[in-house]
Symmetry: C2
DNA sequence: CGTAATAGTATCGATTCCAAACTATCGTGT
DNA sequence: ACACGATAGTTTGGAATCGATACTATTACG
């Protein structure tokens, strides 16, 4: 085995192990790993993406399983369900204050803190490399990469002279608040292929 | 939220997403993600680490669950169980030819190939950054990082003038073949903390 | 020889998981 | 207006996972 291939395998092994340690721990919250993933998703997703189907995509599971996970969280008052007025089939899930409270003690914060041992430069390189790998893997598996507006080809930025820039999405054809450009989106499509 | 914290969160989100996509796909093998993880582990672990307990540590699960997963793989002839002669409580699991055959088409290979889009330099940096984060995260969670001899403080290298170097492990007090220094070990302890 | 620790298994109920069938709504084309 | 297929989401069933707990057997320590 060549050096090149060895380092590829190392990437896969390390990501797998970190992901596993991060995923498998729910703390004493009474929430399962899947429920934690769902809460994080609905807290971070923009208003077009807070649906059962988008979460199923995000979590790489079926809509049926995602539906069950969401139902459990709604029943426990971590999410509220609101039927869409535009599309009678669709419903939007929003996190409750109870969810925000528990998310303040997210066990995944351990991973964030662990990333803090890297220098800012190393962390920046790590993020771009991971984004690149994720984009490539998502493409190979036929999955959506998810991501935020700043690197999305659907974002339209209207520079105004005096005011702040105005953002909108070419895909859904709606204007976006500046904060919404920092939320994750199911329709994200990277400007440069692969990250 | 500062830039520093934002990039930490991005690391966590990206690792989580990549890990999830990589983990959740079993292909048409009939094996579950947990079973794939077990097969990979027993194929990559050294002879001191191919036990139910070590796999439970590796997979961040309980010994009970790990026992069930292993039992299923033994029943399907992917693993063989051999009781230890030194320790009557312990048993060693070895992968069968059937397991090696299916591992040749490991769905996780997609992730390795995705890592191939990075330059060798970027990949090398990625590996060391991830190893650093993993070491730190494992410490925070009180988990073993697992790793290989070259960066383990238990490795003893005896340099011989004409012959190849001889390796041994200070912890278990046994000599190691050169190939065994490239297998993952439950007793791995990094030379530099967090590295 | 007795006690504590360790390796592993067995069992429980809750959850996850996928697949498949199902309802309801939307979009398109005629 | 109507049929058709696509989409959003739920439901059901069976297998597997999961954590917790209790359990057996063996080893280590004193």
């Amino acid at each position: 085995m060549s050096e090149r291939q060895a380092s590829r395998r190392e990437v896969a092994e390390l990501v797998g192990r970190i992901g596993r340690i991060a995923y498998s721990f729910g703390g004493r919250s009474g929430l399962t790993p899947a429920q934690w993933t769902a809460l994080r998703f609905f807290a971070r997703a923009n208003r077009f993406s807070r649906t059962v189907s988008a979460f199923a995509e995000f979590h790489s599971t079926t809509r049926g399983t995602a539906s069950q996970t969401v139902t459990g969280l709604v029943r426990r008052d971590y999410l509220t369900r609101r039927r869409s007025k535009r599309d009678g089939r669709s419903a939007r899930l929003d996190v409750t204050d109870k969810a925000l409270a528990i998310l303040a003690h997210d066990p995944l914060d351990d991973l964030e803190r662990a990333a803090g041992v890297l220098s800012a430069r190393a962390r920046s390189d790590l993020v771009s490399s991971l984004a690149c790998v994720l984009g490539e893997l998502a493409e190979r598996r036929g999955r959506r990469p998810f991501g935020m507006c700043p690197s999305c080809r659907h974002l339209e930025t209207e520079e105004c002279a005096v005011e702040r820039p105005r953002y909108s999405c070419r895909l859904v054809g709606e204007s976006l608040g500046a904060d919404e450009t920092q939320q994750i989106c199911v329709d994200f499509s990277p400007i440069q292929p692969g990250g």
